[in-house]
Amino acid sequence: MEVIGKSVIRKEALDKVTGRAKYTNDFHSVSMLTGHKVISPFGHAKIVDIDTEGAWKVPGVRAILSGNHYPLTGEAIRDRPVIAVDKVRYHGEVVALVIADSPEQAKKAGDLIKVQYELLPVVNSPTQAFQKDAPLVHEQSGEYKKEEDSDPVPGTNIANHIKIRKGNLDQGWSESETMVEASFSFAPSDHAAMETRCATAEILPDGNIIIMTSSQAPYMVKRLISDFFGEDIGKIIVHTPFVGGGYGGKAPVQLELLAYVASKEVGGKPVKIFNTREEDIITSPCHIGLDATVKLGADRTGKIRAAEIQFLWDGGAYSDKAIDVTRSGAVDCTGPYKIENVWCDSYCMYTNHPYASPYRGFSHSELTFVIERTIDLLAQKLNMDPLEIRYINAIKPGDTTPTRVRLNESNVGNLQKCIEKVRELFHWDKGAVQKIDERFVRVKGVSCSWKTSTIDTNAPSGAILTFNPDGSINLMSGLVEIGTGTKTVLAQILAERLKMNVDNIHVRMEVDTQTMPEHFKTVASRGTFMAGRAVLKAAEDVIKQLKDVASCVLRAPKEDLEVAESRVFLRDDPTIGLHFKEIGYGYKYPNGNAIGGQIIGRGNYILRHLTPLDPETGEGKPGPEWSVAAYAVEIEFDRRNLTYRVIKACSVVDAGKVLNEKAALGQVMGAMSMGIAFACRETFYFDELGRVLNPQLRTYRPLRYGENPEYLVGFVESPQLDAPYGARGIGELGLMGMPGAIGNALSIAADVSLQNLPLIPELIWKTKEASK
């Protein structure tokens, strides 16, 4: 292959290294007003009074929104007011919005709004939320409008409950000689994309609603504004320029709704809503927390016979995307292992925490930590090698998933091959523990993961190709460039199919929902697969049209024509042919007559054979394929101080096919870096009032340069047959195994079982103190 696999330089590279790449907040006009949020300082409180009198006196104030009963919003369950009414349910929730001419006026006025609260009892964890007499976050959860597959249980904090019932659990236990059970808990945390979220809205006199937003889901913005507020969907036009990192955090729709109601309030004038870092951390959706209990049983040979799992997801104050995360966690609850008897209850719990959204891995980094720690506990009890127990239980073609999908060579990656490669790359056979001296020890830990993308069963993607007079091609896809380089990969896919130079393909980076075909959402590692399929189909369409015209001009049957190097030519005599520039815009005969016209290629893709889950058993096909990976880390542990460094980290991913080598490595290493930070440092600290105590990057700390380990990344390539060139999604896998592998290594090193995140030295110290 000529283009596929090569480290083609990213199409937007120059814009990004020169500061010319523009993000939503970089667009500002003189007439644009600023919306400033007044947010709740408490986790759960009744709003007694909102006094806006002082705020109105600030010059430049155009409107103050508070206490308005806008239609309720939310993706699966309509449980969320755009601006809090009657009570606040989380620290950071918007209680009022000031719209003023300038940011400083808006802030000044916001500071003068006096809100009187009456504190309510706080639900501070999903386990507490699950207790029988827990205070209710939503008193009327049964009355909300909702999608068919979400079922809040009235009178409780359960927003949804997904059940997996596969095989016969009793039989599984009876086949098991060894059983382990463990409980895990970790609090919500944040995506911490470097670009904080931002949205602008303007409503034109003709009713067109123009939104610009830093979103992974511009088409969803369009749909939801239409659904929630009854606007004509065709009049909603969403622009998304470059997005400064998403990781799932920009898939939910939130600021766009504020911008829309704000603009509406000021006669359609453009209004910008920009998150400060503090707001981005607490007001906007966060990374979900989890309390979980896992019980595994294995026979004498180490084969796992039964799994019983309970997930209590910390959905936070509003269910939104947490409903889907809860489902996704259930679907792959066992991790990538063959287990015939599975029982899983996955609950989406309401709490008084910031509400959750997808986070890179969509429930899988979280479930992987709890499963992989339990697998290590099982290996320990069985006295088995941790890599070996994973190898013998690894999921394979012919096995079924927890939702009973039968796997084959195409729809699941090759986990055993990944494990083999980790064994080799990480010199596993040299031993997991290496004593340096009385104080320091180096320890290796391993883990595995898998993932299917549980997206809408009818999720679409589309692509349009147009020609320029020089024969170069413009590629338009509704996919958002959030940093993954997928748009460059789409150009490679097209170049490979047309056998042309990738430099002659121009990719439209910005998304405009009015003129570009929809790509469902830029989430779930589905970009390359779905948009890639649409591009391939558009390429076929272009080839057919090119050949139609060329066949006429060249007076040769279409079957004799080839397309390559931006030409259409005779297979048996390539010197006879036409360049794209001669036919892309229609062919003009010497006498002036013309045929053909501009060639416009179109392609689309829709996922196939997906089904909703059976509400009683969970049976169903939730996603198109299962990608897999195996991991290892090496830590150096100080037995006196209980501190450590991650020295090396290894991920071996079944990529199906690597499409752009450096981009793929970057995706995996970047995900690993995020996973290490999630595992070792990042978390929200809550006080008893449900307040997030560390809403700044000074106290909420992503990984820094030099804290990263040496990365070892390996790829296995077992193709997914229905994917472009066999490629599987890889953007999330690097992250998913890090917490488990590091937790396993540290538990060995410190000689205690670590069952919480983040794995800070104080946790190790506390766990050791408690076990004394």
């Binding site: 500071d111 503090e278 006196r640 070792c680 560390n694 000074r698 106290t699 804290e707 506390k766």
Partner: protein, 279 residues
């Protein structure tokens, strides 16, 4: 962007600065001396700091001093931490300062700004406490030179209208053996759980600590227990731990008990490095 407006003054002499303060104060403008200004900018943004008038002292010659004068090292209060690190006239200070915030931020944070800050840690003061340095302060009554250990009691006890100009440190302390260690919640970025600086003079080890209490300190009681050579190493460390001041920090960075665990090991490290003992 700060949500409030203020007047900005940049005096060139100490007297001008002091007079300006008095004048602005009389007008009720809550004037604020400003050197690196990072705290006003970051706290002002979230409504935790306010002023109507800023007096930027960066252009005052005395505040920019960076020199060895006789047997003293003189350091001006508006020197940035990176300037101090680069000149390296006081290696213990270089080491301790280099662990504050990050390199770029230290190009803005100043010596005086760090020592007079609102945040608990103010680690740049530790070396001066150990070296019995002298601070030069100016106010409406003119200049004053005061031993730092008399005026820094949890914080620099400046009276209204006074500001820190320079700190003078004797060369014998500048050359003394030292160690400075910062331990954070995790890895290399963030506030200290404990920062400990120590210096050895006349066969005695002096220690100053930040992160244990909501203020940096050097304690005579701690040093007495720590240097009690009649006792075993363990007893000396335990003895020092028993006389630590109150209250202990207990927050998202770490619990009080855990900070003591961290401190205990650090005290062993200090003894190991400076007292030639095997720990």
């Amino acid at each position: 962007m700060l949500p409030f407006d203020f007047e900005y003054y940049k005096p060139e002499t100490l007297k001008e600065a002091v007079d300006l303060y008095q004048y602005l104060d009389q007008q009720g403008k809550r004037p604020m001396f400003f050197s690196g200004g990072t705290e006003l900018i970051t706290l002002g943004r979230i409504d935790l700091a306010y002023t109507d008038a800023v007096i930027d002292i960066k252009d005052i010659a005395e505040c920019k001093v960076l020199q060895v004068s006789g047997d003293h090292v003189l350091l001006g209060s508006t020197l940035t931490l990176t300037q101090i690190e680069k000149a390296n006239l006081f290696p213990l200070l270089t080491k301790t300062a280099s662990q504050v915030a990050d390199h770029t931020a230290r190009g803005k944070i100043t010596l005086g700004g760090n020592i007079c800050a609102q945040i608990f840690y103010r680690e740049a003061v530790l070396p001066f406490l150990l070296a019995d340095s002298q601070v030069l302060i100016v106010g409406s009554e003119g200049k004053q030179v005061i031993p730092i250990n008399e005026i820094f009691l949890g914080q620099l006890r400046l009276r209204k209208g006074e500001f820190l100009v320079q700190i003078a440190t004797e060369s014998r302390f500048v050359r003394a053996p030292f160690i400075s260690i910062k331990r954070r919640q995790q890895w290399d970025m963030g506030y200290p759980l404990i920062t400990i600086a120590a210096l050895k003079t006349h066969d005695l080890v002096r220690v100053a600590i930040s992160g244990l209490c909501p203020f940096p300190f050097r304690s005579k009681e701690v040093e007495a227990a720590f240097n009690n050579k009649g006792l075993s190493i363990e007893e000396r460390v335990e003895g020092a731990l028993e006389v630590m001041p109150d209250p202990l920090l207990d927050d998202v960075e770490g619990s009080a008990e855990y900070r003591l665990f961290v401190l205990k090991n650090l005290l062993f490290d200090v003894l190991g490095a400076l007292d030639d003992v095997r720990v």
